[in-house]
């Protein structure tokens, strides 16, 4: 009881501690690929500390919602991240919500962010919020199609159960899984405002989405938002890792050896995924905003196709 509580608490602390490091790693990879030296991988921590020490400059007509939103967004994302099996399945509270609930928690954070973007009443906030709403409207159905395909295969929408199923030999070779993976990657890129959907590194582009919404934030509020974004990236990579690469996942309460293997495997996954993401972002151009619906629609179609093909292979 105490041990599993510790593992659960450790997981919550771990995701929080690792999130800025992952962001720093992705930035480092991108910098090296662009033949720059790049900042240290620990730079995001320094940024956070700097932001936390600064004063908040609040727009004159900002309401309480604007001030509350960063903390609530962070809390929703953190709770969602706590429900994902990162290095071990079957954590103490993993039954609190399934994959749908995790996505809905992220949706709640996004709901607050889009509202906060509109609170000051500037055109930039509005453009960001309305585009985020459009992207979400396509990303969420695509995500759900993926969940349907996975649940059809694993018989559950609970991440721990899915991960355990994917680790067993019962999976077999399935084209549907490949389709679901591709769709998931597209959705994850969109959810995290990465290239080609959005550019996390600039304020100076008219097609910006996420950065436009948070334009008015400063100081500790901005720190919370940056941390939330980093946490969300870590969360998505963890979900992909535990579903599609469930190698080395420890079973809850397995003992120190299993946990250590789980931790090592998790770290390896993060390193690889971060490097892949950095490479991908360097290799590809940002899309025009009204090309994004086609991309996400493609993800939706892939999800649907995965489900249909599963029907074929299971129905015979």
């Amino acid at each position: 009881m105490i041990a599993s509580l510790l593992v659960q608490g450790g997981q919550m602390a771990l995701v929080l501690a690792l999130a800025p490091l992952l962001t720093g790693w992705v930035r480092k990879v991108k910098a090296r690929l662009q033949r720059r030296r790049g900042a240290s991988v620990f730079q995001p921590y320094r940024d956070l500390r700097r932001l936390l020490g600064k004063e908040v400059v609040l727009a004159e007509n900002a309401s309480w919602l604007f001030r509350v939103a960063p903390y609530l967004m962070f809390a929703f994302t953190w709770v969602a991240a706590a429900l994902v099996p990162t290095f071990a399945t079957g954590l103490m509270f993993s039954w609190t919500g399934d994959l749908i609930a995790i996505i809905a928690l992220l949706g709640a954070a996004r709901f607050l962010l889009t509202l906060a973007g509109m609170d000051i009443g500037t055109a930039f906030g509005g453009i960001g919020s309305s585009r985020e709403a459009m992207i979400a409207a396509l990303a969420e159905p695509a995500m759900l199609m993926i969940i349907i395909a996975l649940a059809l295969l694993a018989g559950s929408s609970q991440l721990s159960t899915i991960a355990r199923f994917m680790d067993s030999p019962a999976v077999g070779l399935r084209v549907s899984l490949a389709l679901a993976l591709v769709a998931f990657l597209i959705v994850a890129l969109a959810e995290n405002a990465r290239i080609p959907v959005d550019n996390p590194a600039t304020h100076l582009e008219l097609t910006m989405v996420h950065e436009a919404m948070v334009l008015e934030y400063s100081g500790r509020h901005l720190a919370m938002i940056e941390l939330t974004a980093a946490l969300k990236l870590l969360l998505m990579i963890s979900v992909i890792g535990c579903i599609f690469v469930p190698i080395g996942l420890a079973v809850g309460g397995e003992g120190p050896v299993g946990t250590a293997i789980g931790l090592a495997a998790y770290a390896a996954k993060l390193v690889v995924a971060g490097a892949l993401l950095g490479t991908f972002e360097t290799a590809i151009a940002k899309m025009r905003v009204f090309r994004v619906p086609n991309l996400l629609g493609g993800a939706l179609m892939l999800g649907l196709l995965a489900t249909l093909l599963l029907f074929v292979s299971k129905g015979l």
Binding site: L52, G53, E55, V56, L58, A59, E60, L65, Y71, L72, F74, A75, V79, F93, T96, G97, A101, A104, L105, G107, A108, F111, T114, L115, M118, D119, I120, G121, T122, A123, F124, G126, I127, S129, S130, A133, M134, A136, A137, E140, P141, M143, L144, I147, I148, A151, L152, S156, S157, Q158, L215, E216, G219, R220, F290, P293, L300, G303, L304, G315
Partner: protein
């Protein structure tokens, strides 16, 4: 509990007495409408009676069904009434909404211009809805149904001076007549050749496949027209917003649920087993309605019309759940059917809560600013603190966000879809995942829609002087809205209570029920098995509260406290006019462009004058409603043309009229001769 064993019909008698008292209140309202105490008298009495009826509904969930026969209406038939768990659940929902609306109206009713157009009909409307739920024969049901239509029609016309309201009234009356007619035909088919119109007889008779399917489709049409299923929804966004806001709350939050009740009663109780493809029809209609309804809502910039379209969406979600239940039942999977039915009924309950809340909030906004046009609102969060907070809760709940109640019912419907989308019929195999995608699409679009509703109306800077001068509304209104918001949160944190309360309904209709949720540790919701899926609203709520609490505490302990107010940065644009803010239309522009370009033919014409020309640039937005253009307009045109042609018949000589009569007689005789 009022159910004394020696007097089993006591509960039903109490309910009927309360309904009679509501009718009497209507009479009192007619007499004392202009008096000072008329409003308090009528709404106070309605509040008390609704609370009583809601309690009776709760009690009916716990006791076995009781029937009652009274010598009313047709003397040789009498009127039969029955109180069973299904009726009890809907009694609870209807009267919960009714009680909240009455409480709200105690304050809001002060602004009614012509109370004599509201006060007499309001209690009658409530009474009629209750009567529909307890009627146990087709006569009583249809009588109450039509009474409900007429009373609500009278309420819609409360602001009869506006031409748009009068148009809404005509449209509503037309659709209500159509709905009553199809229900009548449906019941006629169900009664069969013996012609016994009591529900008990219909339950005993098992009509053959095609008759059952036809009856079901007729009832689907009748109930769907009242509930607002696409393509029968056209009247709803006209009529619901036209009424005073507490009546809008009743019509959208509650009356549509009475229509759902009618469908559930027939499809799951009276009909034996309709053919499996009828479930496909319901699933397709439900999914389509959900997405189209919310797309319409996104295109809307009138707050109350937006809410009305969102009602259409939620009705779609409910019917989607009901269709799932029918599909599982046709497949012989009772647990799956119970899960889907429970999910749909839970959504009925949830939608009654948050839609009533949102309509009341819209009423409060209208009272405070005199407008419902989102493009003239803004910044109300600074001036209407309570209203904006509870409206935000309602928006989050209807967008299906945890830990509020809207998420639980949508999650349960998803679970029903995930349970096994591989039903043997191929129609279902394709339909179920597609419906899952449609439901997710509707949920995501609903979130966008309510970000727009809240963000434009309450956030930002005021877009008109009226919005800048808004004042908070009275205490009764705030109390009613706060109560509903609290219920939204409670139902989201403890969904197991509602799910368990629904167990008798599922047992009555399907012979099985979901496992008791309150027995699960930590009050989780576990629809089937813990390994499959579980959700715990309480823990999510506690976790989020704890996580944000810890964060705030840590930040305030370790980080800088400094805060400075300054003009908005806005990338360096100084002192922009409030008119540069995003409006309701511009917020919806990306979604309009992606989804509505082909569906609604939405497009924008931008005219930019050449350099040097001082003429203003223009942007013109056009949207067509395909359902109206291709469905209703041709029918209306045809009716118009036909009646113009027939109009000539009014100006004939006596001899010609006699000739018509004579010809008709001869034709009938000929038909008779040929028949033999």
């Amino acid at each position: 509990m009022p159910a004394v064993p020696s007097h089993p019909t006591l509960l039903a008698e109490l309910v009927l007495l309360a309904i009679a008292a509501l009718l009497a209140t209507g009479l009192a309202g007619a007499v004392r409408a202009r008096a000072r105490d008329g409003r308090v008298l009528v709404y106070g009495a309605c509040l008390v009676l609704c609370v009583l009826l809601a309690l009776a509904g709760l009690a009916a969930l716990a006791v076995p069904p009781t029937g009652l026969s009274l010598p009313l209406f047709l003397p040789w038939v009498g009127a039969r009434f029955r109180l069973d768990p299904l009726a009890g659940f809907f009694l609870f929902v209807v009267n919960l909404g009714g009680a909240a609306a009455s409480l709200y109206a105690l304050g809001y009713g002060r602004h009614t211009a012509e109370p004599e157009r509201v006060l007499p009909f309001y209690p009658v409307f409530l009474a009629a809805m209750n009567l529909v739920l307890v009627a146990a024969d087709a006569f009583g049901f249809l009588f109450a149904w039509e009474l409900m239509s007429v009373a609500s029609w009278a309420l819609v016309l409360a602001h009869h001076h506006e031409p748009r309201t009068r148009r809404a009234g005509v449209l509503y009356l037309l659709m209500a007549t159509l709905s009553g007619l199809t229900l009548l035909l449906g019941f006629g088919l169900l009664a069969g050749p013996a012609g016994d119109y009591s529900f008990a007889a219909m339950r005993a008779a098992h009509p053959s496949g095609w008759i059952a399917a036809l009856a079901l489709m007729l009832v689907l049409f009748g109930a769907g027209a009242k509930a607002g299923l696409v393509p029968l929804h056209v009247w709803l966004p006209e009529a619901h917003p036209a009424a005073p806001s507490h009546v809008s709350a009743l019509m959208s939050g509650v009356m549509t649920k009475v229509a759902v009740y009618a469908f559930v009663r027939v499809a799951f109780d009276l009909l034996g087993a309709p053919p499996w493809w009828s479930a496909v029809v319901v699933l397709a209609l439900g999914g389509g309605t959900a997405v189209l309804g919310v797309l319409y809502a996104l295109m809307e910039s009138d707050l109350k019309r937006l809410l009305a379209y969102s009602t259409v969406e939620n009705i779609g979600i409910i019917f989607l759940g009901l269709g799932l239940a029918m599909a599982f039942r046709a497949d012989g999977d009772a647990i799956g059917a119970a899960l889907a039915l429970t999910a749909a009924l839970l959504h009925v309950f949830n939608h009654a809560l948050f839609k009533s809340l949102l309509f009341m909030g819209a009423g409060a906004v209208q009272t405070a600013t005199g407008t419902r046009d989102l493009n003239r609102l803004g910044g109300l969060i600074h001036r209407m603190r309570v209203t904006s907070f509870v409206f935000l809760i309602g928006c989050a709940a209807i967008s299906g966000l945890p830990p509020l109640n809207g998420f639980v019912s949508e999650w349960l419907i998803f679970q029903a879809i995930l349970l096994h989308p591989d039903l043997p019929q191929w129609g279902f195999k394709v339909m179920l995942p597609a419906d899952g995608a449609l439901l997710a699409l509707a949920a995501a679009l609903a979130a966008a829609c309510f970000v727009k509703a809240f963000g434009i109306a309450f956030l930002g800077r005021p877009r008109s002087d009226a919005a800048a001068a808004a004042r908070e509304v009275d205490g009764f209104s705030r109390a009613a809205m706060a109560g509903l918001a609290a219920l939204c949160l409670l139902a989201g944190i403890f969904p197991g209570v509602v799910i368990d309360a629904l167990a008798p309904v599922a047992h009555l209709l399907l012979g099985t029920r979901l496992p008791a949720q309150l027995a699960v540790p930590w009050v989780s919701v576990v629809p089937v098995a813990a390994a499959r899926s579980s959700y715990n609203g309480l823990l999510i709520f506690l976790f989020v509260a704890a996580a944000s609490g810890i964060t705030v505490a840590a930040i305030h302990r370790f980080a800088s406290h400094a805060l400075r107010r300054a003009p908005a940065w806005d990338c360096g644009f100084p002192n922009a006019d409030p008119i540069t803010q995003y409006t309701a239309d511009s917020f919806a522009q990306p979604i309009r462009r992606v989804f509505a370009a082909s569906l609604f033919g939405a497009h924008e014409d931008v005219t930019v004058p050449p350099p040097g020309d001082t003429a203003p640039a223009r942007i013109v937005k056009t949207i067509r409603d395909p359902i109206w253009d291709w469905g209703y307009a041709p029918v209306a045109e045809w009716v118009e043309r036909t009646s113009l042609t027939l109009n000539r018949l009014q100006f004939l000589t006596i001899r010609r009229y006699l000739g018509f009569v004579f010809a008709a007689l001869v034709v009938l005789l000929l038909a008779l001769a040929l028949w033999q």
